[in-house]
């Protein structure tokens, strides 16, 4: 199945009942699939008049307690930023998918990973985080959608899946989970009609009293702390005894993995560390994976964004270099392999 379609089908299967989107390359197949399938599955698909409208429709739908989702690609996600901030400020669960393309501006329509800063550091104004997952295969995209909806509900927060044009467009075989029927009960906060039997539930991000807002934010950061403690995840590949550890996520991790396998076969002590969660960043996992490392090579389809989290996690104790292509250009396994040889000097 195509990555974009798999994301859509997985969402339907885990009980997503509302999808609001606006077409943009390279994620359009996701919306197109939803247009075809959502109605048949008893849900709502709507092509909004803009990305801004779509994210606000998600906000409205999530307020009623249903599972809701939107998807876009880089420039469209920028337009959704305000709505995502409002959702974080209203403690609303939803899933947002970014199938990244080259930027800034309208950029290019080819795959890129240049929205890492946006997703993990500044997905809108205000004191907040969203959870960010970074799958690297079509199967993992399916699994991540299920996880994303569950975690969004558990922590009452927007969750982003940060994919890219390559993952969205490529074809791989997938297995889907059975459709989910036991969805979490949200009746203690959702605005789903009080029928004069209880107090109103108010979904709101506006606070006229500063100390009240401060208390609200502090409570939210307690939840963020729990997320950081419990929800980090990473794939560790051949890092045992590795003198060089490559850090990469998503599609660039697939490229790096090919290069690592080739180098290992030649006796070069190299491994791959692939964060599956970008926020929270898997700090302890990276420390453990780099315990024998003399060098780190960070590989991204950007000018170097995740590298700052890598350096923070390792407290800048391990020399860290960067290799990346940007603007929609995909690094090749051969290029990464050359970098490995440059740093390690080849097999000893």
């Amino acid at each position: 199945m195509k990555g974009n379609e798999a994301l859509a089908e997985a969402a339907i299967r885990c009980g997503c009942k509302c999808f609001f989107g606006y077409p943009i390359t390279p994620q359009t197949e996701l919306s197109a699939y939803m247009a075809k399938r959502m109605e048949k599955s008893g849900g709502v698909f709507l092509q909004a008049e803009s990305e801004i409208a779509a994210i606000n429709m998600v906000l409205g739908a999530a307020s009623t307690g249903v599972r809701a989702m939107t998807s876009s690609s880089s420039p469209g996600v920028s337009l959704k930023a305000e709505g995502i901030s409002y959702m974080a400020g209203s403690d609303l669960p939803a899933v947002i998918i970014n199938v990244q393309r080259g930027g800034p501006g309208l950029g290019s329509i080819q795959p890129a990973q240049s929205d890492y800063f946006q997703a993990t550091k500044a997905m809108g104004h205000g004191d907040f985080h969203i959870m960010v997952y970074a799958p690297c295969s079509v199967q993992e995209m399916v699994d991540t959608v299920t996880l994303a909806f569950d975690k969004a509900d558990q922590y009452r927060t927007p969750v982003m899946i940060l994919a890219d044009g390559l993952l969205g467009q490529m074809m791989e075989p997938v297995t889907f989970p059975e459709p989910k029927t036991d969805l979490p009960d949200k009746s203690d906060w959702a605005a789903c009609g009080h029928e004069n039997k209880r107090e109103h539930h108010i979904i709101n991000s506006l606070f006229l009293d500063a100390p009240l807002l401060e208390a609200k934010v502090l409570e939210r950061f307690e939840r963020y702390k729990a997320i950081e403690e419990n929800e980090t995840d990473a794939e560790v590949y051949m890092c045992d005894g590795a003198e060089l550890v490559i850090t990469a996520y998503g599609a660039s991790a697939r490229v790096a993995k090919s290069a690592v396998t080739k180098a290992r076969n030649e006796g070069i002590k190299v491994g791959l560390f692939r964060p599956k969660t970008l926020w929270p960043f898997p700090v302890n996992e990276l420390k453990e994976a780099t315990k024998d490392a003399k060098n780190i090579l960070d590989v991204e389809m950007s000018m170097g964004q995740m590298i700052y989290d890598v350096k923070l996690a390792t407290e800048c104790k391990i020399p860290t270099t960067f290799f990346g292509r940007t603007g929609g250009v995909i690094p090749t396994p051969a290029e990464v392999y050359d970098e490995i040889k440059k740093i390690t000097g080849g097999a000893k």
């Binding site: 199945m1 379609e5 089908e9 197949e29 080259g102 290019s108 329509i109 993995k257």
Partner: protein, 217 residues
């Protein structure tokens, strides 16, 4: 093989890989071949990706001047009528679904004069999610015919699961294909399989996998 072959199907069904294989095979037999990248819908995984392969094999590529750029607009900047008129084989790789075949309708009348020397083949893959059911595959086939104002002349069974395709994967699809060709009242032109599989099936078409991701060997 007829002079003109038009290849349609669900996006991701394997149209491009089949088209590229046919073009290379003809060229290696010393035939003059032109392959047309008629995908005006999706800028990823398209015929125009194989410029170097075509050059090595002497295949002429006709693609939009905007193919593989960031200008994501449905544009055709080549002359299909002239290519159909000139000697040599012409393989037209159409974009996915009915949306991808709309542009073909523009040439329906011009191509109708070649109808005795033209095949329009519909590619099916029983492992594609939206065409898993024979009725869904047929529905899409008729949608493509409606927008392209042309009728298919045959069906190609290209059922596969990418790298995970085994002999069993292909054999399992035979009934599905048979069901579709009977309902469509069209011939099954062939069943495609990766050339390293040990298969002996009627009308088998062994192919190489050209369409793949950067990290695949």
């Amino acid at each position: 093989m007829k002079k003109i072959t038009i290849i349609t199907g669900h996006y991701g069904s394997g149209k491009t890989n089949f088209a590229v294989n046919q073009a290379i095979k003809l060229a290696q037999k010393g035939e003059k071949v032109t392959i047309v990248d008629f995908d005006i819908v999706n800028p990823y995984f398209r015929t125009a990706d194989f410029v170097e392969l075509f050059k090595e094999n002497g295949v002429t590529l006709a693609a939009s001047m905007y193919a593989n750029t960031s200008l994501d607009i449905p544009a055709i900047s080549f002359d299909i009528e002239r290519m159909a008129y000139e000697p040599g084989y012409l393989i037209i790789d159409v974009g996915g679904d009915d949306a991808g075949a709309i542009g073909l309708g523009r040439y329906a009348e011009a191509l109708s004069q070649y109808k005795d020397d033209l095949d329009m083949l519909y590619i099916i893959n029983c492992y594609r999610y939206l065409t898993k059911d024979p009725s869904e595959a047929l529905e899409l086939m008729y949608e493509i015919e409606e927008v392209s104002k042309m009728k298919h002349t045959g069906i190609i069974n290209n059922s596969n699961l990418g790298r995970e395709t085994t002999e069993e994967t292909v054999l399992h699809s035979i009934d599905y294909a048979q069901d579709i060709v009977e309902k469509a009242k069209l011939p099954l032109v062939g069943t495609v399989y990766r050339d390293d599989l040990c298969l002996s099936i009627p009308n088998g078409i062994p192919v190489k996998v050209y369409v793949k991701t950067v990290w695949e060997d």
